[in-house]
Subunit: 163 residues, 2 copies
Amino acid sequence: MTEAPSFDVFQPHDHRRCRKEALAAVLAECSARKLRLTPPRRCVLEALLEEHRAMTAYELLDRLREAGLGSQPPVVYRALDFLLANGFAHRIERLSAFVACTHGEGAHEAVFLVCRACRQVAEASLPALARNLEAEASEHAFRVERVAIEVEGLCARCAGAGA
Amino acid sequence: MTEAPSFDVFQPHDHRRCRKEALAAVLAECSARKLRLTPPRRCVLEALLEEHRAMTAYELLDRLREAGLGSQPPVVYRALDFLLANGFAHRIERLSAFVACTHGEGAHEAVFLVCRACRQVAEASLPALARNLEAEASEHAFRVERVAIEVEGLCARCAGAGA
DNA sequence: CCAAGTTTGTTACGTTATAACAGATCGCGA
DNA sequence: TCGCGATCTGTTATAACGTAACAAACTTGG
Ligand SMILES: [Zn+2]
Ligand SMILES: [Zn+2]
Ligand SMILES: [Zn+2]
Ligand SMILES: [Zn+2]
């Protein structure tokens, strides 16, 4: 969480470490910002950290159920609200699904590269792009609050597999 | 449809003309490309052209019902499939809703400025941004197929109204 | 007219998300 | 340590969004 990963999530990498460091970073940030990573929130976060794949709310709810932490939709949506609001996870609008953040600190925006075959998601920042958007918006006298940029396609592996 | 509008949809404008020209452009393009703007498709398009506001599939279905053109969800989703596939309308992922195209010709992508208060949507093109994205994607060996850029915020009118 | 392809319309169902409320837990000051 | 307000958890119920599968109607070209 504390800095951009030095690897590409679409490439093979030491994901055990990736996951462990991401969790540690969230714990540190919660501690620093006096946020409570309660059991359902942590359960959802850990499920998201297992893979760089977007998961639906109901897949995450299954994890909560298995962990004995409640079995109804509001539980998972509230945990997600917390994670999204604090920049620990992102919503992929295109998929109505969620991924753990691999990138920033605090609430932030990013560009998501979303593989339509394996649903893995890479997160990139693109400040130049944000400046372009600001210029465009100001021509319309539009006050920007949130930017969602989602690029759908195929990751190298899935493209290679002949999808 | 045939060219970018010379006005900003967030500003007051001659919307009767705006709507009439958009419909004429779609009719022309259907004729040129041998596409069939059948009654349900036209009904949905006209509903979308009434305002520059994103409408949900079920709002559009109500229009079909009123027009006696079927009352079940698949009817509206199929009409939308046609309009989206041919670039006559766009889906706003953030809202799970749809707007008429004000911009291009044929299937195309754009940047959407979405007012969270009035749900009006302005469409802008941003080729520079697309080039940025391509560069980003190629670093990840990612094959881009679709790009969705949605900017949420407040239009000048809604910001003025103290939202 | 006939056959093939496309479009329409229906039933039924699956998925995603939220409202409303009761009970549990936490943090803090008396 | 005890209470008290705020936050969080968990439930029921329901709303909103979307699709599979199939039969009937229409369109187009021979
Ligand atoms: Zn990893
Ligand atoms: Zn992939
Ligand atoms: Zn207009
Ligand atoms: Zn507005």
